[in-house]
Amino acid sequence: MPGHFEGLRDRLLRGGVAPRHVSRYLTELTEHLEDLIAEEERRGLDHETAERSALMRLGDTDSLAKTMIMRKEFLSWSHRAPWAVFFLGPLAALVAITFAILVSFAVIIAFLGSGLARVPMFVPAWFRGLYAATITFDLFLLPLMLGWAISFLGVRQKMKPLWPVVGLVVIAIFCGLQNYELQWSPAPNGLDGFGVSWPFVPHGSRITVATSCRALLNLGLTVPVYLLWRWRRPHAE
């Protein structure tokens, strides 16, 4: 039974209908089809003829797809505003996470260290480990997680590749060129300052070999994965 609506699923997703609406629609159509087949069989038709007749009564793929696609309330945000979902959204998430990391550093120094008022600021001994782990996450794992999330959305929604690729490139470059600056003081566990900068903001950090390599690594681990995933997905259906 599920095979009857695979073509319709494809049409709806390509037409921009949100996956949750597609799933609900197909579930109800499948149940409706079962009822129609049972009704036709009660009239004395054999199963094959009953199924053909039931499918005709239900409507052809084209009309079933059109009635959903023409209603704006069923369209996904990635179809209505792809620039927001694949470009602004991930960028805003990245900025928010980076900001949250800096705020949490400040809170740790304020409440568990010597406070932010005087330099050097003294931090707990475990701060170095936490800092290293957080920066590793932010510089290496976060861009991949965001990139794969973009890829997942793009493939699930059967999007044209333009906006997902734009999003992946922006995230790869933005994360790759990001530079955390932590100035340790000669005093034990002393910190002179901390912050984050990018080459494209006024007085920002410079583009170095390391940051360029990071950006290229992010690109290499996200864009080809997306394109491969996208290429394989239609063949699997």
């Binding site: 609900r24 409706h32 009822d35 079933l64 959903m68």
Partner: protein
Amino acid sequence: MRQRNPDFMNGVPELLILQLLSSREMYGYELVQSIRERTNEAITLSEGAVYPTLHALEIEGALKSKRKAVNGRSRIYYSITKDGLRKLARIAGVWSGVTRAVQTVLEGGKYARAL
């Protein structure tokens, strides 16, 4: 083959669905069959096309749905909400006005010919 949902039927499926659900909850197949029976097959909705209308009414808040198992079959049942009842009263009023107006024109035409 009978023509389904001609142009002047815009808004009629919503009206019929809300009216039928105002008496009791139903699932999609049941609704389509009820519409067909209650209108003596004068109105036959495309069976699959009833779901976008149901889903849109649910998003609007006029209907609510829940999955229920009855006689060993699990189905999504729809019931009308207070907002749905208000919407039904509004569109039923509009529809009555339109049918009265059309009837007046048709009767006027008949009388004009008699003269």
